[in-house]
Amino acid sequence: MRLSKHEQDMLSGKYGWPRRFAMEQIVKVGDFFDAEDCVEVAQVHLMADTESLGEDGVLFLEKLAGYPLEERSVKVPTVTDPRGIDFEHYKALGQSEGQADLERRTIDAFRALGVMMTDTCINYQTIMPPVLGEHLAFGDTGSSIYANSVQGARTNFQGGPSALASALTGRAPRYGFHLDECRKGAKIFKVDHAPRDFAEWGALGGVVGRHMESYWDVPVLELAAPHRHPTSDELKHFGAALASYGSTALFHMVGVTPEAFDGNVALIDDPETMAAISARDIEAFIDAYWPDDDVVDVVVFAAPQLSLMEISEVADLLDGRHINEKVALIATVSPEVKSAADRMGVTAKIEGAGGMLLQGVCFYQMCAREIGEAKGWKRLATNSAKLVNIIGGYGYEPVLAPLERCVESAIQGRLVR
């Protein structure tokens, strides 16, 4: 890789070990993907939940935090993805003191580095929305695909160590979706069905994602008329599921996303036209997760964290009602949305019905296997296709259903189709 004088100095250790470590990571990954040089990134979104970090990762962060301030401080605004513990609720969820202690140590280390503890995966909605053409180092698949696709910014998936390296240097290797060449559409999908709710938008993302052969495949979607223009939350669910099922970091949607807004989306030389996606494809995707019985243990709204609009919808459906004693209902939001929900009476409606509103966390990033074992939860209903895709590996039996049916299932104590 071609490095500037400043980048070479960081690599040599002139500015201390943390920045040297960071540049070494950047060069290793850059060489792997044949990057010619670095881009300067405007902001960093850092994923580092304690389940992923483990003791080893926390010790590493504490090592960084032990260096002098001028050597350890992040160089660009750096915000965090959801954490693993909501300190007001972890005991009720069966999370251990050991997990809580690991979380406290992680937070202390990040604060020492100058990281802003925003604890959200929807930073693109709630913290600082990226802008067209801006280079970023985003470390959540959902935030990356939204920033790339809907906002036209430029980032690769940058997992925790890599995002941290960008935070400490202000740089990222220039490859992948930082380059025009890699942003060209490769697979074209005509969509004949207008998704009716978030679950269907997620299912559409899952259907497309399953056709993606690798990270480098960029899908182009042509929504058949008369689709209503999709909202930010709908694109959020679509993108999160597409990224999850496909390891996909960029999509173009004709007439919707900025690089396909006028219909002239850039394509690779030999793009593949895929079979049209119908209502039956969406239905089959959802049906595949439905069990023969109607047992439900826990209803979860998460992945991504809910916007104020989504959580308000959940609250309104729960208002004045009571969740069945056999079922738990959990919703996760960012601290900013939680604050708004508290002010606006949203939290009171959810908690009044017996639900749990968690802040700064996301369900699958909380050692969900241990929670399930502690609480005896197996069957999980959600309107998040992303969560459905992830949580099976944690010992749950996930069911994908629209938001209002998830709420109704929690009220009735059985799955409601």
Binding site: Q25, A48, D140, G160, S214, S247, I390, G392, G393
Partner: protein, 142 residues
Amino acid sequence: MTGQRGEGVLNGHRGIGQTVTGEALVAADNFSARYDLDRLKGKFSRPQHKLHGKSYVGKILILNAAKGGVASAWMLKEMMSRDMGPKALVLNFANPIMAQGAAYADLPLLDRFERDVTRAVTTGDIVEVNPAAGTLTIIEKK
């Protein structure tokens, strides 16, 4: 085929990490540390995965493409810190997360071969992974 030597060399892209030799665990399926593994037990835990129930610890893990989320970037090193990681990771197509995780963990990683590596290698084969040369050598077929 059992016990034959010099079965061939697969050329891929230059990788990450040191040269290692070990027993291959292979499937024509994809890979994510968070989605697919019980990392405490060292086994594939996602019911739909073709290696469900199999232990990957100490194996040269050979799969199709990196999938899923970003957690693998931390998790590969966390697994190795407990001696519960694979010996190397070989994919047809890595994604940035696997490259970042391998770089952070010093886990040998290879990808982008001239042919489908999951068809060329069989579980139980002894293979050498040489990231600097970008080669996978089948030393001994099962």
